[in-house]
Structures are given as structure tokens and as C-alpha cells.
Symmetry: C2
Subunit: 409 residues, 2 copies
């Protein structure tokens, strides 16, 4: 064999660069209000499994059936049944995030050229999944600034439009349960009633709802429900879940039909749309499992009621800062919050640190996660903060206002 020499890869340089990766935000002293991170902070139980299950393919020690979803030790089989109950869906499969779940659904349940409907507040990955499956689409509008609200009845209008324009019903209707921008919660039941009347399957993206608030797909009347472990279920991830009604499972879980033309090799126990075994075989699924009991607890109606109370309190207190306004539907319920702060923006114009003054001032007060450089409009997430920490966050914002002569009402 000819010897390969990596001239430019000086080992010492690599060690200096990658040998001591650290993360300031992870320190206990900080309160993290990063919009996409709060729901994915590990539970103590998930932290405990990191080392034992850290190695690649760590859940495959006792894989006797050649299939991740059949592994009994650790109890993946039981977990998938429990998480199906939790989501109120008949069958659940793990995926590389809610995004992979969406790609699978659009890819498998449609034909190139079909038309689907989605809400205009959908996550960018929904658009990408539709693009990747080569579909036409129609958007359910939102009412723009400041509410960005979807009107659930518009789904009927859009279905009618598709019917009129294409001669057939849309193949799928897609609903974002909680939008990633303002955290608006949609009334899914209203939409599922419409879809059932037309007989069009409904896909619900629960990336910001499953694991945060009570969500039961059966009760909501959806055909598919996707969830995000790293976004909302205290998992290290990336990992998501694809929940489906039993009637769709045959198609979604179908085996590859390929047969080696020379070898005759077949792979009938592998679920083709999930790469055979879905790419979660290690910490993604193990941390999701370890956190699951707490995630179930925190998603119960009583716990959620307390979360909503905190959200409302936060909105009330943050809006006492002059000019500050929380966007989205009111009353605000979900802990993902978009805030408009024109007074802070004014400060940034003459501040030597420009827009960075806000995130840096917050960090000095041990609050992290506001996008560096943003001072005009930004998102935060207060999910799971204790009252004490919530008050610390509010105080931090109010103190920064005072320090910059912004009145507090």
C-alpha cells in the first residue's frame, strides 16, 4: 500500500484546537433562556447515562434481531410503546429530529407533483421537506405583525382552493402546533375536524409542544405527530419522533423491495425510510429514555398550567419596560417568546458595543441565550424556570433598562 501522508495536519495544532472544547453556557451559574435550548436541557437522569452510553452504537450490545426498534436491553421496545401512549399515537419511530420525521412523511405519503397545504408560520424544515419531495404547496396565511396568527378556518378555504385549481384534494395538510417564531399555539382540533370532513390526512409538527404541554394525537385527531427530543424532551439528541396512526404504518414502515440482482440479498426486516435502523443508536435515544419520566411529569395539565402562569407573569413584567412588547397571540401561553425592544435598540445606536450591549449586559447578570447582537427583536424561552430564576431574568432585563435610563412603568 502506498503511504498516505497528511502533511498539513499537524497533530499539535489539532490538539490545541480540538483538545479542550468548552462551553461557557453550560456552567451552573448561568440561567439559559436560549429559544431552542431550554426544552432540551438534560435532566439529572440523562446526565447520569452520558458516560456509560457515550460510545458509538452503545445501545446495540444486545441487538438480537438486527433492528433498533426491537432492542429489549436497554428497553427500547417498551419505551416506544410508552412514548406512543404519551403522544397518543398508535406507532412511534425515532428519527434524526422532527425534521427527518417530516422528510419521511412528505416523501413516503405523496407523489412528485402533488399539492400539500401548510401554515405560513411553519418551521423552515417543513418547507425544505416539501421541496425535497418535489411537491406543490399552498400556505395558510397569518395575520402578520404583531400577532402572526393563523385562522384555523382558513384550512377549509385552502383545501377548497386546491380542489378547484388541481381537480383533487391536497395529499396532506400540515399544521405547526406551536410556531417557532412567536410560540403561537394553534387550535388543532378545529383543523382536524376540517381535514376529517374532507378526508385529508393531517400532519402535526409537535416539535415545540410534545414534551412541553399536554399533547395527545388521538384526541387532537391527527394522522401523524412529530416531536423533537433535543428541542422539547430533555434529550441530548439530535433525536425526534414520528408518531402515526396504525393505518399509515404499513406504508411508512415498509421494507426495502430491493433484491440483489446477483446475490439475491434482501433486507426485509429493515425499515427502508429510516435507513434500516434510524440514526439514534446511542446517546440520542438513551438520554430521551432517561429523561422520559420527568418529561411526562412536566407535560401533565397541572404542570403546564403552572408554566402558562409563569409565561403570563413574565409578559406582564417584561412589558413594564417602556416600549417593550411581546409578539404573538394574546394572552400569551407558550414559553417560547418573541420580544420587541425598541428602547434597547435606541440604546444600541450610541453604545460602544452596539447591539451586543444587550446580550453582554445580560451575561454579566448571569443570563445567557439572547442572540448576540440582537437588541431590537429577539426570541427567548423561559420553559421550566423556577419562579426564583424567572424573577432573576426579569430583574436582569429591568436593571439593564434602568442602567440605560429606560423608564419602567
Amino acid at each position: 500500500m502506498k503511504e498516505v501522508i497528511y502533511v498539513s495536519l499537524d497533530i499539535q495544532r489539532l490538539k490545541d484546537k480540538y483538545g479542550n472544547l468548552t462551553r461557557r453556557y453550560a456552567k451552573e451559574e448561568y440561567i439559559n433562556i436560549q429559544p431552542i435550548q431550554r426544552g432540551g436541557l438534560l435532566t439529572p437522569e440523562a446526565k447520569r447515562v452520558l458516560l456509560e452510553f457515550g460510545d458509538g452504537y452503545s445501545v446495540c450490545d444486545y441487538c438480537t434481531k438486527g433492528k433498533l426498534v426491537n432492542i429489549k436491553k436497554p428497553p427500547i421496545v417498551d419505551f416506544l410503546a410508552d412514548v406512543a401512549t404519551f403522544m397518543g399515537m398508535d406507532v412511534v419511530r425515532p428519527t434524526a429530529g422532527s425534521r427527518m420525521a417530516q422528510y419521511v412523511i412528505f416523501n413516503v405519503m405523496t407523489e412528485k407533483g402533488d399539492t400539500v397545504i401548510l401554515d405560513s408560520t411553519a418551521h423552515y424544515t417543513t418547507y425544505l421537506a416539501i421541496d425535497e419531495a418535489k411537491l406543490h404547496h399552498k400556505e395558510v396565511p397569518n395575520n402578520g405583525y404583531p400577532e402572526f396568527k393563523i385562522n384555523e378556518d382558513d384550512y377549509a378555504t385552502k383545501i377548497e382552493e386546491v380542489k378547484k385549481e388541481t381537480g383533487t384534494l391536497p395529499t396532506l395538510v400540515f399544521v405547526t402546533h406551536v410556531d417557532y417564531s412567536c410560540g403561537n399555539i394553534v387550535n388543532v382540533k378545529k383543523i382536524s375536524k376540517i381535514c376529517q370532513d374532507y378526508g385529508v390526512p393531517l400532519v402535526l409538527n409537535g416539535a415545540y409542544s410534545v414534551g412541553i404541554m399536554p399533547v395527545n394525537g388521538k384526541e387532537l385527531g391527527v394522522d401523524f405527530l412529530t416531536a423533537s427530543g433535543h428541542k422539547s424532551m430533555a434529550a441530548s439528541g439530535p433525536i425526534g419522533l414520528l408518531g402515526m396512526q396504525e393505518k399509515h404504518s404499513e406504508k411508512i414502515l415498509e421494507a426495502a423491495s430491493i433484491k440483489g440482482e446477483w446475490s439475491g440479498r434482501q433486507f426485509l426486516n429493515k425499515e427502508s425510510h429510516f435507513y434500516g435502523c434510524p440514526p439514534v443508536y446511542g446517546l440520542p435515544i438513551i438520554t430521551l429514555m432517561a429523561s422520559f419520566p420527568r418529561v411526562v411529569e412536566r407535560s401533565q395539565p397541572e404542570a403546564w398550567k403552572e408554566e402558562v402562569k409563569k409565561v403570563k407573569y413574565f409578559v406582564q413584567e417584561i412589558e413594564r419596560i417602556e416600549s417593550v412588547k411581546v409578539l404573538g397571540k394574546r394572552p400569551k401561553e407558550h414559553p417560547l417568546i418573541q420580544i420587541e425592544t425598541p428602547a434597547f435598540y435606541e440604546v444600541s445606536k450610541t453604545h460602544k458595543r452596539k447591539g451586543y450591549f444587550l446580550s453582554e449586559s445580560l451575561r454579566k447578570k448571569k443570563v445567557v441565550g439572547v442572540f448576540p447582537g440582537s437588541s431590537k427583536r429577539f426570541k427567548i424561552n423561559i420553559h421550566g424556570l423556577s419562579w426564583e430564576k424567572l424573577n432573576a431574568v426579569i430583574s436582569a432585563f429591568q436593571e439593564i433598562a434602568r442602567e440605560n435610563n429606560i423608564p419602567i412603568n
Copy 2:
């Protein structure tokens, strides 16, 4: 909101079931020779980052460009450049395993109905990827038991066959660098010469080679090179890498063309075939980065030479047990080893633990990773074992032979 009650999800039962997940194989006292795990065992550096980067989306703290591959802190940008150098490819993207990389390549680089060529020793995920892209295929045969060897020249024959039968050249040629069954190493240069002569792009699956032995895509003459972090690069994962020649990057990395029909929303900075941001945003990419310096070191020609020496020594010693035979091409070079053990199989027939006697006897001697129940033919992997541990593994097998009156020559 109507209250959802999860009647069947008793929290105490969930805590009992998922609250204390443990992994016997991870204990230091054991030597793990599991075929798919050895190359993914974490380095000390990777273990050190588990806690700080354990939370979901942990690498996104300073994502100023909305794109994982542009993150500078932690230094993902630099890492992707370094790993491209390491792989000898122009551009590299992280993926959810080598399997996702394969799906992306087949999906993007072909049209439905095209014909591709693959080797008959390919991993099952290669077949699934071809099936998912709705392609025809032709297999390069292998010479069957006991070598299962590919003849590199057969690629030319197969290209000719496709040309004759379909009137056009195959769209892609796929080569498995090291097969997952016997660990045979293929002469890639011989095949790339053929592909270049015909002008057909070559995809090389380096899941068992990149991170284990010297691999340089440019030198090997391949268009695409996939790698596996959790299989061969000491990453927690799941994570893989898709390396490509610059000329293919425009197509592979293209942005979604979708534009919201009502909203006008576009996502031109998102790489559509990778879900926008590939699902590695946390421990998968961080552990891969933390382990990278050691992975580069262990893949250098000198280190690999030492590995091959150990492999040859192991084969010699294990075959001293009567009837035992290592399958695959000889001399054996790769540490992924398939062993045939008819004498152990004979023992299992009358043993009260049946085929389980072998894995259980090994476990008593602190060697784990032989598939539970297998005693006739099984795979192991001895990559990275010190001479001392290698001898301990050999002794364990030889002692079990002696205990069961199997002669050692």
C-alpha cells in the same frame, strides 16, 4: 383547553424502568471486541466534553449565520476544513451517519430509473439507499466462501454490461472500501482507474476505513467518500461524513428552490438535502471533533502498520484452536474479523447454555462483544487493542477451547 390525562403512564413505573439505565459493557474491567463498536469507543478527550455539551442544540450557542457548518465557536468551520484534508476531499458535510450520506448521494446524483453498480459485499444501507432512490442496480460478484472476495476488474465488466443493456453508462459506481462482513480491503485505485476511463463517478463507503487506516480520497481517485464517526472515528454519534469533490458540491449542497406561495419565504442559506442543518448539533459533532486529533494519529501509516501486525498475530493465534478459521482475503489486514468456529459449535450442541456458552464463557474472562448465542460463526473487532489486551482476548478463546477439550495446535 381540554385536559389530557395519560392514564396508563404511571410515573413510578416509568421511573423504575427508565430511571436507572446502565450498561455492563462500558465497565473498564471488560475488553470489548464488539464488531461495530471498537472504532467508536470514545477517547478520553471525547469523554471530557460529554457533560458540557450534553444538552440539546449545545453547539448552537454562537450560531450567527443560521447554519451549523458556519459555526466558529466551537470551531466547526475549521474542523470541516481539517477533516476534508484528512479525508482528502474538497468539501465535507456532517450527516446522520454514513448511511445518510449514501442516501443523499444516490438521491441527488441520480434520476429515478437510472442504473448504478455496487459491490455484492456492500452494507445493507447501500441497498436501501438505492431502493429509496428508485434505481436499478447491478452487483459486482464476490467469490463466495471462504474469501468473499471482489475482483476489482469486474467493475469494468459490469459497466460494459450496463452500457449494453441500457444503452448508457451507469450513473454511479459504488465501492465498499472495507466490507462489514469479512473486513476485506478493496483496491480502490484499480477501480477508480476503470471509472475514470469510462467517466463514471465513484462513491466510496469508508465507514470501516476512514479513522482506522490511511484513506485519502484524492489519491484513491474517488468522487465521493463517506465516513462513520460512531463506527470508526471515536465519536458518540450517530454521525457520519460526506466528502465530495468540488465539482459535485454545487449539486449536493444546493439550496431549496421553494418559495412560500403566500409568504414569499425562502431559505437560500439552507442546504436542502441535509435538512437545512444536518442532525449532528450537539454531542455527535463535538465528540467527533474532540477525538479528531487521536483519530488522525491512529490513522497514520505507521500506526496502521502496527494494527495490521496485531491482526496477523491474532489470526495466527486464534487459528491454533482446532477447526477455527478466519474468513475473508488472506493475508488478513483489517481488524474487523469474521471467525468460523465449528469446534465451539459442536460444544454448544450438548452444552446446557447452548450457543450462549461461548459469549458467557468469554464474559467470565472479561471479554465482551461476541454476539450472544453465536458459536458457529461470528464477527469481532480488535481495533486499537494493546498487545496486552490482545493477548488476553486470545487467551480467553484458547482457555475456553481447553476447558471444552478442543485441541490447540
